[in-house]
Symmetry: C2
Subunit: 333 residues, 2 copies
DNA sequence: AGTAGTATTGTTAGCGTTAACAGTCCTGTG
DNA sequence: CACAGGACTGTTAACGCTAACAATACTACT
């Protein structure tokens, strides 16, 4: 088993001290160009790679960040992750991308594990933990930024889409087109975004003095089959519904499928509005009307906020709120 | 800045030696139940989390694996990643998921960075590096498994979809339906899978003594817009084509869009076969006929192979080949 | 030549953990 | 009662690196 080449090997080979090699590696001035070149040659020749873990032990910084998402295969989060990773790379950080698989238990596991890895910071997307559990978990971590989740009180950063506004403009659009009986596929019961969208949904009804029925709402897993099952149930139980507002686009695609099964034409019989504008939204037929916040931007801004916080900006770097816009396509013209 | 709690803190508080705490943490027998409980209490109370990096320094194992993919937002790789992550988690490992953004430069960066992080093993998907560069890069890494890429010679593991067979059965299907002029959207020129699919594509023609024209092939980026542009070009230049075989499903979706633009009906005017069976494939209209290898399985098997290799199985744990199957849908019935 | 100042290099200690070995304290046996 | 042998606990020295300080060599002056 060939050991890794260490700095000591390089130093011996080059006939200089450890510190000189260290200075060359970290480009900390104070080394004559001659020795620098010589050392660099040896490094090259020996294929030396400094050990980040030894370095981390002494500097207390690992150059590593944690990025926690419910499901990295979900196009929403994969775009957020891309934005976040780009920003991190640009600053010389690496990222641990962790899935919670929508399970709070797994989420706690992942947080613990990132803690033990001594990540320099944490980007936590759409946490499903309740307030106290989240608070408790974050106590351990030095610097954290939440995405799509608000936690009152102490200094964690947050980047949010204005979900209430999203629910509002989506529902308002449907009401403007004359719909009055609008179902809501609400996603997981413990989703914060889901609750805010519901608020917006209700607020839109209030704006036009229309009333809504709590029976028109149905929770579901935030995926295609969840949306399909919930839409099927809702449309069967409430044939009076002429529109559906959906927790996200995958759910909306599920709703599309349910309509097809039930022989309902979209948007003729039922109009459908999704949320997120995932790539798929434009590709399904009919293409989805949906509520967009740039996911890439969300991830990028969040990571930049995290990096600023790591560098000590705490007062000014608290919360960023991104406004959604409605993308009107065929499913609810 | 509140320091992390260290093992020394726990030891002092509990009135025992460092080693005793270490033994409790690692569950290495030889500790009386009484002290064990006592120490565990203190650990709990102090919220102690062992430092993986200090541990890594002495044990020479980080409990961390590298997973390198061209684009984690691509549904193909995100499923592979899921499979791989699950397998890794099940064995107590964490995973660095890294994107190469389809750039060889970025790929080298990422590999270097993982090396410096001292990952215990490396899963490298669809590497775009050429033979010597790849070989060179892997010299540094202790244990590696390649996915979707073959590298002759020395001991790296590999998990492959039988891409040649995939190209063969897809093209054979089209030939059986009477198509004779079949275009090929070949993906990036340096893609190994692409080359193998081309072989299969040619082999299928040979089976029925038909001939193909090299002009029917067009390279493209492996994404929707790449496929669209290439399909547009190909179908304009060669109106005689009645079918397209595509590097992957995203490319196939692009081809679908190109047909729409050109007023060509799928499958009536042009039949389209994709590869990979990403979730989108079943959702677009017309739904895509495509060639599937379980991506989740691919990732899982690859990770299991990697873990076995880490544990020392080198002879028996070389190569796994997964056979694809054709999923027939509307785009090429 | 002597000296202050600067550029360059070296030395020491310690980051938080574990491997390896060295005790210490029992318990049962001859 | 002495003692082997297990059960438990402690001590020491790394792991590979950098911060902080110490030493040396060189430069340009007076």
């Amino acid at each position: 088993m060939p050991r890794y080449v260490t700095m000591a090997d390089v130093a011996r080979e080059a006939g200089v001290s450890l510190m000189t090699v260290s200075r060359v590696i970290n480009d900390k001035g104070e080394v004559s160009t001659l020795t620098r070149q010589h050392v660099q040659e040896i490094i090259e020749r020996l294929g030396y790679r400094p050990s980040n873990i030894a370095r981390g032990l002494v500097t207390q910084r690992t150059g590593t960040l944690g990025l926690v998402v419910p499901d990295s295969a979900n196009p929403f989060f994969s775009e957020v992750a891309r934005g976040a990773e780009h920003a991190a790379y640009a600053h010389g950080y690496n990222v641990f991308l962790c899935n919670t698989e929508e399970s709070t238990e797994q989420e706690l596991n992942v947080l613990k594990s990132l803690d033990e890895k001594r990540v320099d910071g944490l980007l936590l997307c759409s946490s499903r933990l309740d307030k106290t559990a989240l608070h408790q978990a974050l106590l351990q971590h030095p610097v954290t930024v939440l995405v799509n989740r608000w936690l009152e009180g102490d200094g964690v950063g947050a980047v949010l889409a204005d979900d209430r506004l999203g629910g509002l403009i989506a529902t308002r659009h449907l009401l403007q087109r004359g719909h009055r009986k609008i179902g809501f596929l609400a996603g997981p019961p413990n989703s914060h975004s889901g609750r805010l969208r519901m608020e917006g949904y209700h607020a839109a009804f209030a704006e036009v003095d229309a009333t809504w029925d709590p029976e028109w709402m149905e929770h579901c897993t935030p995926m295609v089959d969840g949306g399909q099952a919930a839409a099927y149930k809702l449309l069967t139980a409430h044939p009076e519904l002429t529109a559906l507002f959906c927790f996200n686009d995958l759910v909306a695609v599920g709703a599309l499928q349910a309509c097809e099964e039930l022989g309902l034409v979209v948007p003729g019989d039922v109009a459908i509005v999704g949320t997120d504008d995932i790539p798929l939204a434009a590709l399904v037929r009919p293409a989805l009307t949906t509520c967009r916040v740039s996911r890439y931007e969300l991830g990028k801004q969040a990571m930049q906020l995290l990096l600023k916080r790591i560098e000590g900006c705490l007062e000014e770097c608290q919360t960023i709120i991104l406004k959604p816009e409605l993308v009107i396509r065929e499913s609810a013209p």
